[in-house]
C-alpha cells in the first residue's frame, strides 16, 4: 500500500512537470523584446517553483514509503527545530520576494516609463462585443467624442464629433494594423462594460475600465496577424469578442492609411 501511494504521488508529480520541460503546450511566439524578457521571467519562475514542487513531492512520497507502520521502533519525539525553521523561511522569503523584484526590472521598462516620443498613438475602444480601432490621421490629433453622435449605421460607432476639425481625418477600423518595429501607444477605452486588451504574442493585457483611459506601449518586431481576444468577462458574447493585430511593413501600413483616408473623403 505505501509503495502504491508513493508511486501515485511521484507519478502525478512527474505527469504535471514533464509537459513544462517538453513544452508540449507552450506560449505562442513572442513578437516584441518585452515579450521575450517576460518569457525569461516565466522560465526562471518555472525552474524555481519546479524545483520546490519536485522536492516537496519527493519528500512526501518518501515519508509515505519509509515511515509507515513497518518501520521499526517508535516515532521520533521532536517538537521541531528553530534553526531549520528560520533557515527555511528566510530561504523561501528571499527566493519569492527576490523573484518578484527581479520581475519588476523586466516590467519596469514598459510600465514605469511612458511610451517613447514619436510613438504612434492608436485608440482602442471596446464595446459588447467588438473592438473599434481609431487612428488620428495626418494631423496626429484625435477628434473629440460625443456619445450622442454614436451611429453604427453611418459609420460613426465611436461618436466622433462632427464639429471638431481634429476628427475630420480620424480613421476607424475593426482591426488594428500597425507598422513593424515602430513604438505603438495604445489608448484603451470602453463604451459600456469592462473588457480587456489581450494579445498573447505581446504578453500584454490591460482592462478597459469604464470611465478611465488605459495606456500601454509596445514595439512589435515580427510581422503577422495576431488575434486580439477579450480577456475580461463582458457578457454573453465575451467568447467571440476579438479583433486582429496586424503587424506589417511600414510601407504597407502607410498605403493602408492612405487608402482609408481616400475612402473617407469619397462621397
Amino acid at each position: 500500500m505505501p509503495l502504491l501511494l508513493a508511486i501515485l504521488i511521484w507519478g502525478i508529480c512527474a505527469a504535471i512537470a514533464i509537459p513544462f520541460f517538453t513544452r508540449t503546450w507552450w506560449m505562442p511566439q513572442a513578437i516584441s523584446a518585452h515579450a521575450r524578457t517576460v518569457d525569461d521571467q516565466i522560465v526562471l519562475t518555472t525552474i524555481i517553483t519546479g524545483i520546490v514542487f519536485i522536492l516537496a513531492h519527493l519528500a512526501l512520497g518518501y515519508t509515505v514509503l519509509f515511515y509507515g507502520k513497518r518501520r521499526a521502533g517508535a516515532a521520533t519525539y521532536s517538537h521541531g527545530n528553530t534553526t531549520y525553521e528560520l533557515l527555511w523561511s528566510s530561504a523561501a522569503g528571499i527566493l519569492f520576494i527576490g523573484l518578484t523584484l527581479m520581475g519588476t526590472k523586466v516590467w519596469g521598462a514598459i510600465h514605469f516609463q511612458p511610451a517613447p516620443p514619436g510613438a504612434l498613438q492608436i485608440e482602442l475602444t471596446g464595446q459588447q462585443f467588438a473592438w473599434n480601432v481609431r487612428y488620428s490621421g495626418p494631423d496626429g490629433k484625435f477628434g473629440a467624442l460625443d456619445i450622442k453622435q454614436i451611429n453604427d449605421q453611418s459609420g460613426n460607432p465611436l461618436g466622433v464629433d462632427a464639429k471638431d476639425p481634429n476628427g475630420k481625418d480620424d480613421i476607424t477600423a475593426p482591426t488594428m494594423p500597425v507598422p513593424v518595429n515602430r513604438p505603438i501607444e495604445v489608448i484603451l477605452r470602453t463604451k459600456d462594460v469592462t473588457h480587456a486588451f489581450n494579445v498573447p504574442e505581446l504578453r500584454l493585457k490591460l482592462d478597459t475600465v469604464p470611465g478611465l483611459l488605459g495606456r500601454l506601449h509596445f514595439t512589435a518586431d515580427k510581422t503577422g496577424v495576431f488575434e486580439l481576444a477579450c480577456a475580461e468577462l463582458c457578457g454573453l458574447g465575451h467568447y467571440k469578442m476579438r479583433s486582429f493585430l496586424e503587424v506589417m511593413e511600414p510601407a504597407k501600413f502607410d498605403a493602408w492609411i492612405q487608402e482609408k483616408l481616400k475612402e473617407k473623403s469619397a462621397p
Binding site: P28, Y77, F96, P210, C234
Partner: protein
Amino acid sequence: MAESHAHVHAHAHAAPTSFIRKYIFSLDHKVIGIQYWLLAMAAVIVGMALSLLMRLHLVWPTAQMSWLESIWPTGAAGGVMTPELYLGLMTMHGTIMVFFVLTTAPQSGFGNYALPIQIGAADMAFPTLNMLSFWVTFVGFIVALAAIFVTGGAPISGWTGYPPLSALPEAGPGQGAGQTLWIVSLAIFAVGSLLGALNFITTILDLRAKGLTLMRMPLTCWAWFVTAILALLAFAVLLAAGVLLLMDRTAGTSFFVPGGLVVSDKIINHSGGSPLLWQHLFWFFGHPEVYIAILPGMGVVSQILSTFARKPIYGYRAMVYAIVGIGILGFGVWGHHMFMSGMSPYTAVTFSVLTMAIGVPSAIKTFNWIGTLWGARIRFASPMMYAIAFVSVFVTGGLSGIFLGQPSVDFYFHDTYFVVAHFHLIMGVAAIYGMFAGTAYWFPKMFGRFMNEPINKIHCWVTFLGVYAIFGPMHYLGLAGHPRRYSELTGVKFLQPLEPLQYFITIAAIATITAQVLFLVNVFWSMFKGRRCQEENPWESTTLEWTVPSPPPHDNFAGVVPVVYRGPYEYSVPGASKDYLMQTDPEGAAKPAH
C-alpha cells in the same frame, strides 16, 4: 473548581425534548455544526452539477439535451445551451462553491462541531445567535438557488460581479432579477457569517477550560480563531459593497457606474461612480476569503497529520505564527487581483511584494507538515490519506501563485485558465480535501459510527488522480494563453489546437464527479449502518473531544469541567505509559514538556 462549575452551567442550556428544538431549531453547537455540514453537502452537489453542465457544453456545444430545456426553457431552447446560460451556471457555480461550500463547512461546520469541545466548553458563547447564524445562511442559500431558476436567467457577471456588467440590467440577460437575487443572497450570507464570527471569537477568548492557554490550543482552534477574525473584517466590507451595488441597481445611485456609458445603444443615466471602487471593496473581502476557505483545512490537516504520524506537530509555535501571519498579510494583498485594471506600477509592486511575503508562512506550514511526517510511524487510516493528499494539492496550488503574484508574469497569465487551475487547486480542492479529512476524522465522534475505510481510501486516491487530471492540464491551457470564462471555444482561432486538452479535462471531470458518489453513499450509509464506535477515542488522539462519549452528550462534558495539563500533540513521548498523552492526562504533568 466550584467556580468553574458555575461558569459552565451559566452557558449550558437544558437538553431539548421536542424533535423541532432538537434537530431543526437547535441551540446545540453539535447539531448546528452538522446542519452547516449538511448544507455544504447539498450546496456542493448543486455546484458540481453546474460545473458538469459547463464542461459538457464546452466540448459538445451543439449537443441537444432536451432535459436541459425542461429546466431552462429559454436558456436552453431546443436543448442547446446558450452563452448566457453557460455564464449563469458559471456565476452560480463560483458563488455556491465559494460561499456555501468553502466558507460553510470548514469554518461553520467543523468549527461549530469541534471547537467548543476542543476547548472544554459546554456550548458556543451565544447559542441562540449560533442558531440564527445557521438559519440566516440557509435563507441565503435558498435565495442563491432562486437566482439560478428565476425568469430572465441567472446573472452572467461571474462570482466577482464586476460593475457595470453587474450594475446595469441592460448589460445582458440575467442582469435583471437574477443579478439582484445574487446580491441579496451574498448580503444575507455576509450577515450570517458576521454573526458566526462574533460567536467564534468570543467563545475562544472566554470559554477555554482551565489550563488551556492559547499556546496549548489545538491548531484547529487557532485556525478557526484567525478565520473568524478574517470573516468579521472581510464580510463587513462585502456586505457594505453589496448594499451599494443594490442601490446602484434599484435606487438610482452611482457608486460604481461612471458617466458617458452607452449600453445596447442606450445612453446610461448614471454619472460619477467608479467600477474600481467595487473591485477594491470586493477583493478586500475576496482575498481574505481565500484564507477563510483554506485556514480551517490547514488546521484540520495539521491535527490529523500529527495524530496519525504518532508525532508531535513539527514546530507548533511556527505553525501558530504562520496562521496569524497569513491572517495579517491576507489583508494586504488584494491588489494582486487588479494588476490589469490600470493600477499604478508602484502600487502593484507593493502588492506583489506582500503577496510573495504571504508565501513564506505557507511555505513554513508545508515544511512543518513534511517535518511532522519525517521520522513518523504513520497509521494509514482514511483521515490520514486525505491529509496527505491535501499536502500535495496545497503545494501544487500554492506554487502557481508564485507566477501570478508577479505583475510581469501575471500580465500574461491573468484571466487565463492558469488562474482557474491555481485557485481551484489551492482554494477549492485543497479546502475540500480538508473537509474530506475532517469528515473521516470526526465522523465516529459525530455519529458514533465509522465510515467505511476501504471506500474512503479508494475515493481519496481516485479523486486525487481525478483533480490532477482536471486542473493539471488547465496550467497548460493557461500557458498557451487560453482566456477563461469563454462559453464556447470556437470564437477564437488560437484555441482550436487546445481542444484535445479540453476534451481530456471534461472526461476527467465526468469521472471525478462520478467518484464523489462513493463518498456521498459512504457518508449516508455509515451514518445509519456503519460499524459502531463504542470507544471515546478511536484514533488515539490527544485533544479534548476524544475524552467524551461518541456522540457526546448534550452539554459535552456532563457538567464535569475538564482540566488541561499540556499542549495538544504529545505523541510518542519517551517514557510515557502509552504512545500518546491526552491534554487532560495528568501523567507526568509536573515535568516540563521536553
